[in-house]
Symmetry: C2
Subunit: 337 residues, 2 copies
C-alpha cells in the first residue's frame, strides 16, 4: 500500500510537521472524534496546507466507513418546497453531524430509475448506508437495498419479510388522540376531509381517525378531495349534512384553507361555530386566521432514531428486529372552539 | 496500482461478466454520461452484485474528480425551515444532478468553526469543490477557501481581491423595478419597512429602493424593525406620517403580515387604500389576504449558473473574472391597488 501520493506528500510528512504520530494523522481523517479539538484542528489544517491526499480505498478498508449517509431526497418545487421534508432534512443533518456523519443527497438523473442511482453510489463507494423517505407500499428501493444487503434505514415503514430498520410517526395513534381532544371538548359528530391517494401515511391517519371515533363513541362523515377547489365543495357537502358535524379534521394541513373557505361559505365561524384540525403543522398553519390546531411530527427525534439505527447496522452489523413508532405532538391553536 | 481489491473482484472480472471492455467499466464509475443508459445500467448492476469496489484514490487521480460538490448548508428551524434556502437546495440538487454531480451537505459540529469543517472535507478527499451561501462581508469561509486554492463558488458575492466565482440576484435592480411598478401605478410617496441587520442582501435591497425612489422622482420614508411586534409599530408610524405613504415596501416577506396588521390598525384596506409589496416570494406570500405582490428569485437559474461556474473551475482550472448578477421576477398579486 503506497504511503506516498502523487503530489509527493506522505502521511509521515504531515505527522512530522504536526509533531504527532502517523496514527494521529490517520485518526484526524478516519476517527476525528478520538482527538482533542486542538490536535484535530492543527492536523487537518496541515493536511490541507501540505496538500496531503489520503488513499480513499485504503482508508475505507482500514476504518470500514466513509462516514457518509446517502439520502434519496424527494423532489419538490423550488418555489414552494415541502416544508415537512425540508424540516426533516435539517433534522437529519443535525442528527448525523453530531455523530460525525455527513449527508450525501441522491437524486436519479432524468429518466433514471431510483435503484440505478442507488447502485451508482454503492458501486462508487460513496456512502456507508442509505436512508429512504416517502416510502410507498412495495417500494422497489427497499426491496433493492434489502436484496443487496447494503445498510439502510427508512423514514416510513417496510413490509413483512423485509429488514425492519424503520422509524415512523405513530400516525394512527396521533389521529386517534386528535379525535379524543375533540370528544373531550364535547364534539359528538365529526367530519374527515381526506384524499383519494393511497399513500401509507394517509391510510394510517384515516384508520386512526376511525378508531378514535369508535373509541370515543362518536359518529362521523367523510369526503375526499385532491385539489383546493374540490376540497371546498367537499367541505361544504360535509357541513351541509344533517346532522352537521361540529368539527372537521383535514388529513393534511394543505386542506385546511379549503375547510375554512367551506365554513365561511356555510356561514360558520371557524373557532366559534366549527372546530377545524389538521396534520403536519406546516409553517402556514400558525398563520391561518384563526391559527390551525394540528399535529406536529417529532422530526428531530425521528432523525436521531434513524441515525442511531444506521450506526448499529454499520458498526455492529445488526439490523433492528422491529420498526419504531414515535408519538406526535398536538399543537392546540384557536381553530378549536 | 492493484486492480484486484480486498474482496477479490477485479475490474476485469466485472468487464468479463458484462461483456464489455475494462474502459467501459471504468467509464460507468467515472464518466457515466459517456455510456448508453442500457450499458450503464447493466454494468452498475454487476458492479453492485459482484461487490466490486473501485480504488477511490486511483479513480480520483485518473478522472481528477469525485463528482461531488460540498455545500455548507445554513442552519434552520426544522419546525419552520427557511423556504428560500430549501428551494435553493432543491434547485441545486436538480442542477448538479443534470451534469452528474451530487451534493454533500457540510455542517460544522457543535462549536466547530466553519473553516475546520471545510478542512475536514478537503483533507478526506470528500469533494471536488465547495459551494457557499449566506455569505457575509469579510466571510472567513471565502477567505479560507481562496487562500487554500480549493475550487469554490458563492451564492452571494465575494469582496475585491478575492476570486469572483459568485452568482447573485441583482437585488438592487429588482427593488428599483418594484419601486418603478409602484410609480407606474401613480404612487408618489412610498414607505420602506426594513431591518437593522447589516446583511449584504438587505443593504443591496435598501440601496435599490432608494435608487428607484430617486430615479422615479418619488419621496420616501423608512422605518426599521427586527421582530413582528415592533414591525407593526414601525408600520403604523410610517402610515401615520403626513403626508402618509400610499405604498409600503417590506424588505423581506416576513414583515408583510406586520404591514397588513399596521394597515388594519390605521383603518386602511391593503390592496384598496394601501399598496404593500414584499421580497423573496415565500410560500405564504400567496396565502396572505390579500395575496402579496413580491419579488421571486430565479433559484434554478442561479443554481445552474453556480454549477456551470464550478465545472469551469474543476475541469478547466479557470476562475471567472467577474461575478454574475441575475434578474428577479416581480410576482404581481392583489396587495397592489
Amino acid at each position: 500500500m503506497p504511503a506516498r501520493r502523487a503530489r509527493g506528500v506522505s502521511i509521515e510528512d504531515v505527522a512530522r510537521a504536526a509533531g504527532v504520530s502517523r496514527q494521529t494523522v490517520s485518526n484526524a481523517i478516519n476517527a476525528p472524534q478520538r482527538l482533542r479539538p486542538e490536535t484535530l484542528d492543527r492536523v487537518t489544517e496541515l493536511i490541507r496546507e501540505m496538500g496531503y491526499s489520503p488513499d480513499q480505498s485504503a482508508r475505507s478498508l482500514r476504518s470500514g466507513t466513509r462516514r457518509i449517509i446517502a439520502y434519496t431526497t424527494p423532489e419538490t418545487d423550488p418555489a414552494n418546497p415541502n416544508a415537512l421534508m425540508s424540516g426533516f432534512l435539517e433534522a437529519l443533518v443535525a442528527a448525523s453531524g453530531e455523530v460525525g456523519y455527513r449527508i450525501l443527497l441522491v437524486r436519479p438523473r432524468p429518466g433514471q430509475p431510483q435503484e440505478k442511482a442507488i447502485d451508482e453510489v454503492i458501486a462508487g463507494g460513496g456512502a456507508d448506508a442509505f436512508l429512504l423517505s416517502d416510502v410507498l407500499d412495495g417500494d422497489t428501493r427497499v426491496e433493492h437495498l434489502a436484496a443487496g444487503g447494503f445498510p439502510f434505514a427508512v423514514f416510513g415503514r417496510t413490509g413483512a419479510g423485509l429488514p425492519q430498520s424503520w422509524v415512523d410517526l405513530d400516525s394512527a395513534r396521533a389521529m386517534a388522540d386528535l379525535v379524543g381532544l375533540l370528544a373531550g371538548r364535547g364534539h359528538r359528530h365529526v367530519g374527515l376531509l381526506t384524499m383519494s391517494l393511497d399513500q401509507p401515511w394517509l391510510r394510517h391517519r384515516a384508520e386512526g381517525f376511525r378508531a378514535g371515533v369508535r373509541g370515543h363513541g362518536l359518529t362521523c362523515v367523510e369526503a375526499t378531495a385532491d385539489d383546493p377547489e374540490s376540497a371546498v365543495a367537499a367541505g361544504r357537502e360535509l357541513l351541509g349534512g344533517r346532522p352537521a358535524p361540529t368539527a372537521l379534521v383535514v388529513i393534511d394541513d394543505w386542506l385546511a384553507p379549503a375547510a375554512y373557505a367551506a365554513a365561511q361559505a356555510e356561514g360558520l365561524v371557524v373557532g366559534a361555530d366549527l372546530a377545524v384540525a389538521g396534520f403536519n403543522d406546516m409553517p402556514y398553519a400558525a398563520l391561518l386566521q384563526p391559527p390551525l390546531t394540528t399535529l406536529r411530527l417529532p422530526l428531530r427525534r425521528i432523525a436521531d432514531a434513524l441515525v442511531g439505527r444506521l450506526l448499529t447496522i454499520i458498526d455492529d452489523g445488526v439490523t433492528p428486529e422491529t420498526g419504531l413508532l414515535l408519538p406526535g405532538e398536538i399543537v392546540v391553536r384557536a381553530s378549536l372552539p
